[in-house]
Symmetry: C2
Subunit: 296 residues, 2 copies
């Protein structure tokens, strides 16, 4: 449902605690390790015999997302999933999240329900529990800060620092799609602002738009590696772009690397649209939350 079609209940009508109760209802706990979720000063987790992994991402309106073209449900889904991706990139399993939310009265209760519907869907699909949070006022835009907790056996954890000379550098999916998706959305926004009756022409663009608006984390790869008995020497999540992440990995592992431009996987639509935007895909691999990661 589009935000503009939603009924509008003001945040003040529910009050802080009423709002928290409404937003955090219907988040059943799925993991045995989630001993206590929402409703106390802290959540309680039991990762008996396992290591606990922790990562945080902050998304700020006007910087990381534009609500002109990013539906709130998609935003919630992406905010959660891009965090899960950091845990998969350690070869671990995300198990819990806590959600910090700063929100102005420009947003209605229904709008926040949509945001949480996206977070809920991500939690369902990836079997993650929402165990706490902080919901507060903001004077201007929307701020979402999600901290993800995961677990892994000590011997399974893969760091950025393990790459060795002669390791093979692989990427788990095609690159650049999310960035092209963003360029298209920005282009359509300009068109829409100059002519609000314009209907966007998005046929053939579904793949890159989905990479931008509703990325997935590579749970499947971590599961496949486990099934195959393969433990990579190092892994990293790509969110700032291929070049940036490879430099992190090389720095942490104290190795250099050689990339084969022609072997970098691009989706055919990414390739086609790159030409339309007159950009060289390999010099523009700034994935913007692709959910992809590299392993050696």
């Amino acid at each position: 449902m589009e935000e503009k079609d939603l009924p509008r209940t003001e945040l003040d009508e529910l009050g802080e605690f009423g709002l928290i109760d409404q937003l955090t209802a219907d988040f059943p706990l799925r993991n045995a390790s989630s001993l206590k979720g929402v409703g106390d000063d802290a959540a309680v987790i039991n990762h008996e015999g396992m290591r606990t992994l922790v990562s945080v991402d902050m998304l700020i309106e006007g910087i990381h997302f534009d609500l002109t073209y990013c539906p709130l449900k998609h935003l919630g889904y992406k905010a959660a999933v891009s965090n899960f991706s950091d845990i998969y990139a350690m070869n671990g399993t995300p198990t819990q999240i806590v959600v910090g939310l700063g929100v102005s009265n420009r947003f209605s209760v229904e709008a926040l329900d949509e945001l949480y519907a996206g977070i809920r869907l991500a939690c369902e699909r990836y079997n993650v529990d929402m165990v706490g949070g902080d919901t507060t006022s903001s004077k201007t835009g929307l701020v979402i800060s999600i901290t993800v907790i995961g677990m892994a056996k000590d011997e399974d954890i893969v760091y950025r620092s393990g790459a060795k000379k002669n390791d093979l550098l692989c990427v788990s999916g095609d690159l650049g799609g999310a960035y092209i998706g963003l360029l298209i959305l920005e282009r359509e926004k300009v068109e829409f602002l100059s002519n609000p009756n314009m209907q966007p022409q998005l046929k053939g663009l579904e793949y890159v738009l989905e990479r931008q608006l509703k990325p997935e984390a590579r749970k499947d790869i971590v599961e496949q590696l486990k099934t195959l008995g393969i433990k990579p020497t190092s892994m990293i999540d790509i969110s700032d772009g291929l070049a940036s992440e490879i430099l992190h990995l090389c720095k942490e592992s104290k190795v250099g690397c050689q990339l084969y431009e022609e072997k970098i996987p691009l989706d055919p639509s990414t390739d086609r649209l790159s030409k339309e935007f007159q950009i060289v895909p390999s010099s523009n691999l700034v994935g913007g939350c692709d959910g992809d990661w590299l392993h050696n």
Copy 2:
């Protein structure tokens, strides 16, 4: 050092990763449970045989703090300590934090160094490790989201829900000081804006200003309870005010309660200043991050 006296290096001069390197340097890991701190996709924690506690707080400029009178170092200290307080309120020990930061180019590198100096001091005093974070741009104000991780033996954890009929309700410190401190700072701000040459008269106000600007968490109480072999039936952190927190505790424990107004501890200066501001202390116990908590 006052922010206005600091040299000014623009954020752009360091770049995102240079800034992160600078801010996160000099945070030595103190806890054996901190296996991997800053520098990978997630931090790695070993709470072998213990439960892991997680809580998040978000602080937004213009809502939770006003940089006109809240020095950045104090802000960093308070942001960290008020989070630690949530873990103590579970009868646990805070061990790690991850810091999400949204910041506009209005802030210099030196200003953020001050903020982190406050976080660093809090970590030193409370023996907590800073193990990760996310530093990002903001279009307007400063946003700080700190997630704290703590640990406790399963049998030591105290929930909000354990209060029983005839339990004694206690508060671990005097109340209302932070709120009076805020009223004074707001009053001085108004005076300052009308006459920038005005020197604030703060003699005799030190206690309430410290409660507002540099609150402490009650590590000491948790340690004393342990030494004395006392486990409270329920506990809660006071940050939204006495009335609000007691209602949470009663609701979670399914009990009522009786308060004795004359027995609520007030510092003499809080009492005196309440009269000056013509407020009744007991109806204004909205502590604003007092760091106090209740136990039955």
